[in-house]
């Protein structure tokens, strides 16, 4: 897979004749734009349109128990109910936002710090890069299970390590207030490396001249970072936020593997995705679940749109 093939450099005469003259070939070449693009678009559209339309339809009904059971059309009642639900829905929104915001903050700040350290070549760089790659490609469900054992309050390594430095055992994933931060920690562990790689790619592509100019002007390290590197890197940072942000909003595997459905006794890690999953598969409340999904979908699109807009603004 990794062989690099050079382009066919033989002269046109040496190549086998093409069916240039055929009507099909002419048609295909003339319509290549859609001939190429349409299959992929059709594939996605076919797989998306029906589910989304169906979800939209269900969100306007009181479907529950089974999607094949009779249900009544109840208009926007589900939306009113869900938006007025301060017990599960709004806390889930808040948790989704908090989860995404906090992990993004940590991942960007830590990722930036590590990327800056890795910027200039040094000995042993390869090993650091290997270490950075591994959490990133590890299967998230397996990672969740791994952390479940490490954070087990009784037999886990985490409390063991704390006891060496004289700190008492913590409840980690099983505590009402510590569960969400712990899952955030897991996410930061797994995905900071991705931010490092993205920012590093951005840093490597920067030209050295502005840096050198600033150095000659006598700027300090911090000043150079703040006023030269960071502004130049900003578009890359936005890309990192965009890519990570979408995935963080949709985090599921880690939460499912560590806390199961419902996100714990106090729904302490129940984000919108987990809530919708529970509504579908635990409560069989398909109408409400679809409503939450549609709202969630709109939130994601809104965030994406806002970020892309901001990105465009920065490019100006």
């Amino acid at each position: 897979m990794s062989t690099v093939t050079t382009p066919d450099t033989r002269s046109p005469e040496a190549r086998p004749a093409l069916p240039d003259g055929s009507a099909w070939s002419r048609w295909a070449n003339a319509h290549r734009k859609w001939l190429f693009a349409a299959p992929a678009m059709a594939f996605v559209a076919v797989l998306i349109v029906f589910p989304v339309a169906w979800t939209g339809y269900l969100s306007l009904t009181d479907a529950e128990g089974s999607v094949r059971a009779e249900s009544e059309f109840i208009g926007f009642q589900n939306y009113l109910d869900v938006l007025a639900d301060t017990d599960r829905f709004w806390p889930a929104v808040w948790r989704t936002v908090a989860f995404t915001g906090v992990v993004l903050l940590f991942e960007i700040v830590l990722g930036m710090a590590i990327a800056l350290l890795l910027w200039r070549p040094f000995r042993g760089e390869r090993w650091v890069r290997v270490a950075i790659l591994l959490p990133l490609v590890a299967t998230p469900v397996a990672v969740g299970m791994m952390w479940r054992l490490i954070f087990d309050p009784n037999i886990g390594m985490a409390n063991q390590v704390l006891s060496w430095v004289g700190i008492g055992p913590q409840p980690w994933l099983s505590g009402q207030h510590s569960a969400l931060p712990t899952t955030m920690f897991i996410d930061v562990w797994q995905w900071t490396p991705m931010v490092v790689l993205i920012l590093l790619a951005g840093l490597t592509s920067l030209s050295d001249e502005p840096q050198e100019a600033a150095l000659i002007d006598g700027a300090s390290t911090w000043q150079r970072f703040r006023h030269v590197t960071l502004p130049l890197l900003m578009p890359t940072v936005v890309v990192a936020i965009l890519l990570r942000g979408i995935d963080a909003l949709k985090t599921f595997d880690i939460l499912y593997a560590t806390k199961g459905r419902g996100g714990g006794s106090f729904h302490e890690v129940e984000t919108l995705n987990v809530y919708a999953y529970g509504l579908s598969f635990d409560y069989n409340d398909y109408g409400v679940s679809s409503t939450v999904l549609i709202i969630f979908f709109l939130i994601i699109i809104g965030v994406m749109w806002a970020l892309t807009y901001r990105k465009k603004g920065l490019q100006r």
Binding site: T5, P12, M41, V44, L47, A138, I150, I155, L197, Y256
Partner: protein, 271 residues
């Protein structure tokens, strides 16, 4: 700009902390997979234990893991190849004709919450009598792979100069011919990158496989839950299973590190 000595010391220490922080949990997972359950439950034996391969024997024999490994490989491979066939020409067209809006249609697949797709998909596919084999599973994984491939390849084609193609046209090649004979060979690194990334994401996919796979088609991430029983959790087996799932993909990733990195960072420097 040679860094100062104190900076170099700081960098070494800081990066050592980072490396340990990233690797220690994975090493702990592997350590636990080599312990009996009694040793896992005995926190006094964190390091002093006699390693055993029983958990692996258990995983590979009793739980049909060999078959699940095969399933995971086949699903990830098929989903990747099919997505490349659909995705590479699409990305080319979208890049050359600047079809940003059309690209959004494909990228939407990356944005939509997977939960909303499961029941409808299953409903449709079972009515089409397609459930039970690998088809549905592969299609669902393509849904993850395709937007990834389109995204990466669009970035790649954007950065590929058009001069060679134009020269080929002058030489008498058709547009499609130029794509096939000039652009495709030039894009092999990009295709490799996209393919590898798609393979990794498909291998790791959990949610679709959880509901869409059956007895014969179960993939590894789902099979991990075999070790969470109604009446017992087999931590040793669970960690061995987690290792069996994670290790192959980590080894593959290390061998093709360059491509993985360029795939993950695609689009980062376009600005």
């Amino acid at each position: 700009m040679r860094p100062s000595r104190s900076f170099r010391i700081f960098r070494t220490v800081a990066l050592a902390v980072v490396v340990i922080g990233l690797l220690a949990p994975l090493l702990w997972m592997i350590t636990a997979s080599l312990k009996t359950n009694v040793d896992i439950y005995d926190t006094g034996k964190a390091f002093a234990f006699s390693p055993t391969l029983d958990n692996y024997a258990n995983v590979l024999q009793r739980a049909n893991y060999v078959q699940f490994i095969g399933n995971s490989l086949w699903v990830a491979f098929a989903a990747t190849v099919l997505s490349l066939i659909l995705g590479v020409p699409a990305a080319y067209s979208m890049s050359r004709f600047n079809m940003r809006r059309s690209a959004l249609v494909v990228l939407m697949a990356r944005v939509i919450p997977g939960v909303s797709l499961l029941v409808p998909w299953y409903y449709v596919f079972s009515n089409l009598r397609m459930v039970g084999g690998f088809t549905v599973l592969i299609l669902s994984h393509m849904f993850v792979s395709l937007p990834l491939i389109v995204y990466i390849m669009m970035g790649y084609f954007d950065g590929l100069p058009t001069e060679l193609e134009e020269a080929a046209l002058v030489d008498g090649l058709t547009h499609i011919g130029a794509f096939r004979r000039i652009t495709m060979p030039l894009s092999v690194p990009g295709i490799a990158t996209a393919g590898i990334l798609s393979f990794i994401f498909s291998w790791n996919n959990f949610m679709f496989a959880l509901v869409l796979s059956g007895a014969d088609t179960k993939t590894l991430p789902v099979a991990i839950f075999d070790f969470v029983g109604y009446a017992s959790i087999d931590w040793g087996g669970l960690m061995a299973a987690a290792t069996v799932v994670t290790l192959p993909i980590m080894v593959i990733a290390l061998f093709v590190q360059k491509y993985v990195v360029s795939g993950l960072t695609a689009g980062a420097t376009k600005g």
